[in-house]
Subunit: 237 residues, 6 copies
């Protein structure tokens, strides 16, 4: 029995609210249960120097948690002078996931900066961030098309993400913090609207896992992500 009494294949309540940031070209507040992430997409005046002459655009992402997003207060990373290894892993993952469904030349030589700031953290912050960031990015592209900065939609597909894990021997979908802390195996899946896999990460926290277990996690993720994509479609409609 899961702490939340959810069925093994049940997501938490997920909401996607767009146009929440007054000044950003695109934005989305995503919640997976008690996890809340504010995602913004900013069209940057000037991209990195290597974009010039490349004939394509770029999408980069940054991720951060408010100090008291967590059960215990977490030290601000600015005070240790650099983003932690975990933060860097997550920002690289978000950027790769979004670029995988984007036609970069269609953006022109511009950079979109995605910011995912975790307001509250109850597990699954990186997967919520990817799911919400896609909505913010979509809104940013709409803003750009409305101003004729681009002529076609650079998005080739949806992308969304969910975590799975083996909790007390049972594969379960969308772990919240208490499950995540106790899980034997923790996996994150990023998939497209058409069901293609963009990123798979599975880690044995204690005992190694079997191929069968991993395939069951993948099956759960596929179900969760199709729900997320459906909600994305509804949100941008």
């Amino acid at each position: 029995m899961r702490p939340s009494k959810r069925a093994p294949d049940a997501m938490r309540k997920v909401t996607l609210e767009r146009a929440v940031a007054r000044y950003a070209e695109g934005s989305c507040l995503v919640t997976f249960g008690e996890t809340k992430v504010l995602c913004t997409a900013s069209l940057e005046e000037r991209g990195p120097p290597w974009l010039r002459g490349s004939g394509k655009g770029w999408i980069t992402a940054e991720y951060s948690m408010l100090p008291r997003a967590t059960h215990e207060r977490t030290r601000r990373e600015v005070n240790s002078g650099k983003p932690s290894g975990r933060t860097q892993e997550i920002q690289r993952l978000i950027g790769r996931s979004l670029r995988a469904v984007t036609n970069l030349p269609a953006i022109g030589e511009k950079q979109i900066s995605i910011d995912c700031d975790v307001l509250q953290a109850d597990g699954g912050t990186r997967t919520a961030a990817i799911t919400g960031a896609w909505v913010a990015l979509h809104e940013c592209f709409s803003w750009m098309r409305a101003r004729s900065i681009i002529s076609v939609d650079p998005l080739r597909d949806h992308v969304a993400a969910v975590s799975c894990g083996i909790y007390k021997g049972t594969p379960v979908l969308d772990l919240e913090y208490v499950e995540d802390s106790a899980a034997d195996t923790d996996a994150n899946f990023v998939m497209t609207g058409k069901g293609g896999i963009v990123e798979v990460q599975g880690t044995a926290e204690q005992e190694p896992f079997s191929e069968e277990q991993f395939l069951e996690l993948l099956r759960l993720a596929r179900g969760g992500i199709s729900e997320l994509v459906a909600l994305q479609k509804q949100t941008i409609a």
Copy 2:
């Protein structure tokens, strides 16, 4: 005429919403018009080493802006390796202001960490932060009293803050971003519920100002702060 058509002595619409962060001991979402700051108060398990044996507690504050709180995206300070001078000035001001109305020995040898994260910035973020942080701190102390961690309320008075400035020759209260950018003189006032002055900062951006002008700014601030204190009282009631 002010851009917002407000009277010179009119505040923007201010709201204080408490208990907005699930895990923090105290929290408050404060808005001054389009400026939005999330304030949390965290009781830290362990304070700085110099607290031990001092017989009193400490309140410290940190301040940050989300990158896209602003009209143009602002670079995260973690990427330059350290908080900017402006950030440090503001965090020191918030901490001093709260400590000025707190009976530190009544906290015991504990530290309360205040976090003020600007979700949206339209001028006056530091004064909104002080005003909201007081509510978060009050809630944190209530939480501690409910658990008998402290026996008396360490707060001796309210504290709130507002900015004033000379905009196109006229002293005005509670500047929003477009006014602030164009103001000749910019001043921040921090006062207590009883009307004592905790902090005064006035800066001539262009022309030096006169004592008369400064006293007019002080008069405006007094009016604004008494409204803010009234709202704080209503919020914690």
Copy 3:
């Protein structure tokens, strides 16, 4: 046809040479073709403070490349003041992989530091590092047993790693640099001697990949890793 003319399921020539560092408690020079990594295992006099009283040991790992391990000279990370995101991802992966097959309480409250320094880089440095680091760790534990610092072998199983990818549409094993640069999908697998999965990471560089493709990569990896484990057994015999 692969640039090296290898069959899709063929590893490069792999060598594991142990006892190569005069002062380290354990060491191994591992080569996967032209990729060369020097792995050392150091028993640290003093572990991190949180080990004390925990009743168990810890294994941590650091990874670095010599500046001219690569085709073009790479800037030393010390000159940018911090390990890059990629470096941090890899060190975390190596540490997790080794801990997954170690009985940490059997080490006592000590820390083993693994250093993986890439002398020459032709793709697959992180998987070579994991494979070689296991040998260095094994040697370190033998050294400790010979001196009665520990009484039983803390290693519960072998662990080894290999990369796979989809190169020009074909799933292939153990990518070298030119393949890796051109691959559509890049995946790293870490498995135990008994065939359990410790870590799976798959990334679509361009086109998302299908479940079938991913399973084929997993099948290739299983074959490669069983060869690596056999070589580890031979090396420590």
Copy 4:
């Protein structure tokens, strides 16, 4: 009674000695009692990139204390990797104060760097620094006029600064270290030769202060600053 037996409205002995640094375009050694600050003004070959095309110049300031300027040795800030928050506040204050009395377009697109290095610290270092920096800046402009780099004097007025505070209930002028440490309220005033206010900063260290007290501090400051301006006039004569 003040520790120094000075009357409440008495400044310490102040000296301003100009042309003390052989290589700087302008310099001044300022002493307020035992506080000694070496101020230099350097005409920079190259200003910040944003000056180009702006049609005006810039004045920036840096502040530092020698480690043993203080009663106890203070750690060098270079060893903590960055200027402290206090240092940054002070350098920003010095720069703003000087710019407030300077006709920036008259400098041309050049930068003047002011360096204020505290050789000995007995309270009031920032106010001494501002007062001496004005003399160094004046000397630098004279140097530039003598070489026809500029044709008119960019200085529109004098600027000087002094601290005041409430010491044992009495408002006093120009606090030395022992008074400053014990003062209830600490305020710094920066004013022009014509009596305009450039900057006001007042902080309640313990008890909030009243408007009346603040006005009395302002009155004291006005007296002190008029003495400082008289001394500046005498120095540059």
Copy 5:
């Protein structure tokens, strides 16, 4: 009696192996007994901006030790955010020594980066590094001549280095770690093939040394360096 039973004027066994790094334009693995340093010379696509228009090239050097090159594991400098003072002294020394025998204009406006990475450290790492780096640099220039990037050999002479010291009262050549730790005086000499002195560094660790002692160290060094130069000649033949 020296720990190694060597005569006072006997070098350890020295080897120079060139062309050891597959991708570098020049490389040399140098060993002085158990001290092993991998030296590479990299022709950089782009030198520092100040090279442009200077009409000459530049040689810069970096030095690092693998963490377990040493008897006890040494912390990686990247984790303290900057090269240590010792590392910087050594890299400056290597660069100066090589530049002293190079005709810099003959390189053109290019930069050669020398990397000296200590694989194993048993005393004398900086002198081994200089001696091996010369071979790597020579190989790099041959590579450049073969491709007509330069037309004449920029090397004007050999350069090599050795350490000497006063161990238990006796001047000895080429100190290994145990001697170095116990030596009263430690000196490093860098000389050319023609016997000119490029750099002399002598330090009294305990007792000051006399001119006579210093001259004896110089005599020993001269002997050792002539052996090293002979070996360099043999290596590049």
Copy 6:
């Protein structure tokens, strides 16, 4: 002919003024011509942790230049986040030189911090710093003896330093900036009152130098240092 018209073996005018810093336990303002260095010696309440239980004391040194000590303004090192390689070399040299003439166990388990801050730089700042620091250290030990913190003088001898170089083919003593910039060879010598050599550093800037030239530099240095030691004796008398 030297720019200053000095004879090759003539020092600049040297002055040593002690007790110049009000709060330091020892201090000395040293001038070598236009080079001016303020040296202080501070008895630290708490030394580094490794001093405890060692039975001896420690002397450490820090060196810095004011930004406008130099002909052109130099950037503060705090702004690049760390001391430069040159600064670190010099601080290590000053510390070693002073420790070489000090009986460290006689200090007890305390640390003396030497600060050498260059107020004006016209060549030879490091040698002036060592010469002046000895006086500051002597004064600090007198202060400690007067308070019975130590019972015997830990100083075993004087130590002083001077630079020499080959300027337009002629060996000369005590180089000022214009000579130093143009010198072929630059050498620094640190010697004791009894004539023992503590440190020798000689560098060929262009052409290697011969043993004969080096011995001539040593002879010049010996003369200069004996003058400096005589002046130290006079200063502390």
